[in-house]
């Protein structure tokens, strides 16, 4: 047979195989290197600047050494709480609608598209929109407006992961529930959502982690505040905002605080992402598919 | 589920059975020929056919067994295979009867020839035609033709009984002819059994074709 084993081609094929392997390894290295560099630098710089005061003091006036970011940590907490209260329920409910009620309809396609658009809308644009809606009408910057901006940014991520995770739940599971005479809403809440819960939690955590580090939309909503504040209608500080301000400042001590803030922020994010990974890797989701 | 090969195998099975049936039928005819012309060489022929028939019986049985094991036959196909297994046994016994007849002819040959007032060839042709008809019914999957075999059996039985009476009277009257008469009586019985086997074959054909177990109406009736 003419096509049986052409020895000549074999060497070249082996070579190509090696070449491809080499390229992939190299690519991976090039990617991993800066990542490790960032981490190493962050830990090195940040850890050396961390101290107790960082968590318990508010910033000192310009030029003075010392102070901390208590105001920013508390502020971020307030902002993220508001954001989650807005983003997660709306996001999940919309995801449920897309997955369970509107598979093929025009309306749901429109919603799906707008969710993708919203996901792609630059955070700063969201900031502007919220600014003109809330800040301009209230005539002052506020924690509430910041929370709303972040919440809006959470919605599409939560919606789309919820939808995707729900679609991963086999149709058979839904039929099983309906076949038992379970009402539709009950089946959706107790079976479908629960089956997909690990994935949905992942989505929420990712959305949370994403907005936790957002700076741009806070620039003209939460604005920042050098004092600790819990009031929703007052300007409020936030970790990323504070980091930005300190990073672009010319003062060394502020740079130090910026690094420390970054480390804390990353630590929070890493913890939440790891938690998510732990939950998902326990295989709760795997059984579903 | 186009089980082409399976159905070819069924056809092969039928073919094989018919070949064997042909040999058995021929053996019966030959044995009667031997009786008519008192020819020992024909007896030899008949007796030599027995191993062939037995071998074919085994082959057919094996083939049927293989098909049952390997093809999950259902409905008409299953009934067909079961009918073949039963017909197979009957045909083999028809062959046995031919051999028995040949044996009797051989005994007769050793005795002084006598003229007996019975028409064995007629009985023989009757029985043989029952076998042929039953086989034709099998070939054509014709239940009606098979039914007709069942009625012929009664005639064969009557002829046999008549022969029995004639011969037993003859023996009584002419004791000198006892050995010959006894042998002929047994030949008649053998032919009657051939008819019975033909009847069995016909019943199996009806069972295969229509699914009705004809014994239900027939045997209990008689």
């Amino acid at each position: 047979m003419q096509q049986r084993i052409q020895q000549s081609g074999q060497t070249w094929r082996r070579w190509k195989n090696h070449l491809a392997t080499g390229t992939a390894v190299l690519g991976a290295l090039v990617v991993v290197a800066p990542l490790l560099a960032i981490f190493a630098y962050l830990i090195y710089k940040g850890a050396s600047s961390l101290n107790w005061a960082f968590f318990t003091k508010v910033p000192k006036p310009v030029g003075e050494i010392g102070g901390g970011m208590e105001n920013a940590i508390v502020g971020s907490g307030v902002l993220l709480t508001v954001a989650s209260l807005i983003g997660i329920p709306i996001g999940i409910a919309a995801g449920v609608y897309l997955a369970e009620f509107g598979r093929k309809r025009l309306l749901s396609n429109l919603v799906r598209f707008t969710a993708d658009v919203l996901n792609g809308v630059p955070s700063i644009v969201v900031g502007i929109a919220v600014y003109s809606l809330i800040v301009v009408t209230q005539r002052h910057f506020s924690a509430f407006s910041g929370g709303v901006a972040l919440g809006i940014m959470m919605i599409p991520t939560v919606t789309r992961t919820t939808e995707e995770m729900l679609l991963l739940v086999p149709h058979a599971v839904r039929e099983a529930a309906l076949g038992l005479g379970v009402p539709n809403w009950r089946s959706t809440v107790s079976i479908t959502l629960r089956t997909a819960s690990a994935g949905i939690i992942t989505g929420c955590m990712l959305a949370f982690a994403r907005v936790a580090g957002e700076t741009a939309p806070l620039l003209f909503t939460a604005f920042g505040n050098d004092d600790k504040s819990l009031a929703l209608n007052q300007p409020i500080a936030a970790l990323p905002l504070q980091i930005f301000v300190y990073a672009v400042s010319p003062y060394n001590d502020w740079h130090r605080l910026a690094w420390a803030g970054s480390l804390v922020l990353i630590f929070l994010i890493v913890v939440s992402v790891s938690l998510v990974r732990y939950v998902t890797s326990r295989g709760v989701l795997k059984g579903a598919s | 589920m186009t089980r082409i090969r399976f159905h070819q195998n069924l056809d092969d099975l039928k073919e094989k059975l018919l070949v064997m049936a042909g040999i058995a039928e021929q053996a019966i005819q030959r044995s009667i020929e031997a009786y008519r012309v008192r020819d020992l060489s024909i007896c030899d022929l008949v007796q030599r056919s027995e191993p062939a028939i037995n071998r074919q019986e085994r082959e057919i049985d094996q083939m049927a067994l293989d098909l049952l094991a390997m093809e999950q036959p259902m409905a008409i196909d299953l009934r067909f295979i079961l009918a073949v297994i039963k017909i197979n046994a009957d045909i083999e016994r028809v062959g046995d009867q031919a051999v028995n007849i040949a044996g009797r002819v051989r005994d007769l040959q050793a005795m002084p020839p006598v003229e007996l007032p019975v028409d064995i060839p007629k009985l023989a042709s009757m029985s043989a035609s029952m076998v042929r008809r039953a086989l034709q019914a099998f070939i054509d999957a014709d239940a009606d033709l098979a039914e007709s075999v069942l009625t012929m059996d009664d005639q064969v039985d009557q002829m046999n009984n008549a022969i029995y009476r004639t011969l037993s009277k003859l023996i009584h009257d002419e004791p000198s002819q006892t050995p010959q008469a006894l042998n002929v009586l047994l030949i008649a019985r053998n032919l009657e059994r051939v008819g019975d086997h033909a009847t069995n074959i016909a019943e199996d054909v009806i069972f295969w074709v229509s699914g009705a177990d004809v014994r239900r109406h027939w045997r209990t009736g008689s």
Partner: protein
């Protein structure tokens, strides 16, 4: 009607078990209980309406953002018309505004980022899913996932402190020497530059593209790989004919997502691009993006026309991301059509 039925069943269950068709003689505890339950038609309807309202909220938000931006920028639109998009002037003092340098900066920095990130992230994903030993696989994918979660301001900080000096002292001189003749790498070299923005954007979108690519590659069924191997394919050939084609859709999706993020990325870019509204051929020159100009100047906008012009830039950015998203959907849709049956 349903309520009445439930009642009837209860009655039947207690008093005349065999009267109704189904409530036969043996109502067990379970059966009796279930027969007493309503058919939930109302709660089902309510639930569905609630979900629908939430879904519509998303649509309303986007619509609102668009209308708000358009309304707030009406003054600039009226003033400059379409020329706003291609004029290069940016002079708050004379109130002369054009978005061209920002649009240019946004597009170039994003494309540059894609150029760097796509090959790297795809080959990383290939390495992780197809080649690397299993223990290493986990830590590598965890690492890349973490990177996706690092806030941009941290990237900016790192870029400002580490990347920019590194570019200025080591890499840019090298580039000028070897590739200077193309005109893309000419001095003067400030460190903060379009290139720096492109590199930091690339680093930021790398994990996004690579983790999505990795995910879709790991969903390629093992049977597809075995099909190729059983035909006598080498590992690379197996990846080429089984893995990559099956994953191309997801990879395209990941790239688009990365592009979206690069276009709108604000803080890190603001910190390293140099923030100068000029268009230069050299990638080593500073630039400006739409997002950065908003971040830098929005709170300082003093006149209403200035503010309006800035918001119009926001509007343009918004529209650009919509267009990119639409393109992405179109692309994904056209690819899916070819392989739709795979999904079935």
């Amino acid at each position: 009607m349903s309520g009445k039925l439930a009642e009837r069943d209860v009655v039947n269950g207690r008093e005349s078990p065999s009267a109704s068709g189904l409530a036969v003689a043996r109502p067990s505890a379970a059966r009796r209980y279930l027969n007493a339950q309503s058919d939930s038609a109302f709660s089902d309807g309510f639930f569905k309406t609630l979900m629908l309202a939430s879904a519509l909220t998303i649509f309303v938000i986007v619509l609102f953002i668009f209308l708000e931006l358009a309304w707030q920028s009406r003054m600039a639109i009226a003033h400059f018309g379409i020329s706003f998009l291609y004029r290069s002037a940016w002079n708050p003092v004379s109130e002369d505004f054009g978005a061209r340098p920002f649009i240019y900066g946004t597009l170039v920095s994003s494309l540059l980022a894609l150029l760097i990130a796509v090959p790297l992230s795809v080959s990383t994903a290939v390495f992780i899913t197809e080649m690397c030993p299993i223990p290493l696989r986990r830590s590598l994918s965890f690492l890349t996932e973490l990177l996706a979660a690092i806030p941009s301001v941290v990237y900016g900080l790192w870029a400002l402190v580490v990347l920019v000096p590194l570019l200025r002292t080591e890499i840019n001189p090298f580039l000028m020497r070897t590739l200077g003749w193309t005109g893309f790498f000419e001095g003067p070299d400030y460190g903060v530059s379009m290139l720096a923005a492109g590199v930091i954007l690339a680093i930021m979108i790398l994990p996004i593209i690579s983790s999505i690519t990795r995910e879709v590659m790991s969903t390629v069924p093992q049977s597809q790989r075995e099909a190729a191997l059983a035909l006598g394919a080498t590992r690379w050939e197996m990846i080429r004919i089984s893995v990559l084609p099956n994953a191309r859709l997801g990879i395209a999706g990941g790239i688009i997502l990365g592009l979206g993020r690069a276009l709108g990325e604000t803080m890190a870019v603001t910190m390293v691009i140099g923030n100068r509204p000029e268009i230069a051929r050299s990638l080593l020159a500073p630039g400006y993006t739409m997002a950065s100009v908003l971040a830098n100047e929005f709170t300082e906008a003093t006149t209403s026309l200035y503010l309006s012009a800035l918001i119009e830039i926001g509007l343009v950015l918004f529209l650009v991301t919509i267009v990119v998203n639409a393109l992405a959907r179109l692309l994904i849709w056209s690819v899916t059509r070819g392989a739709s049956s795979r999904m079935a």
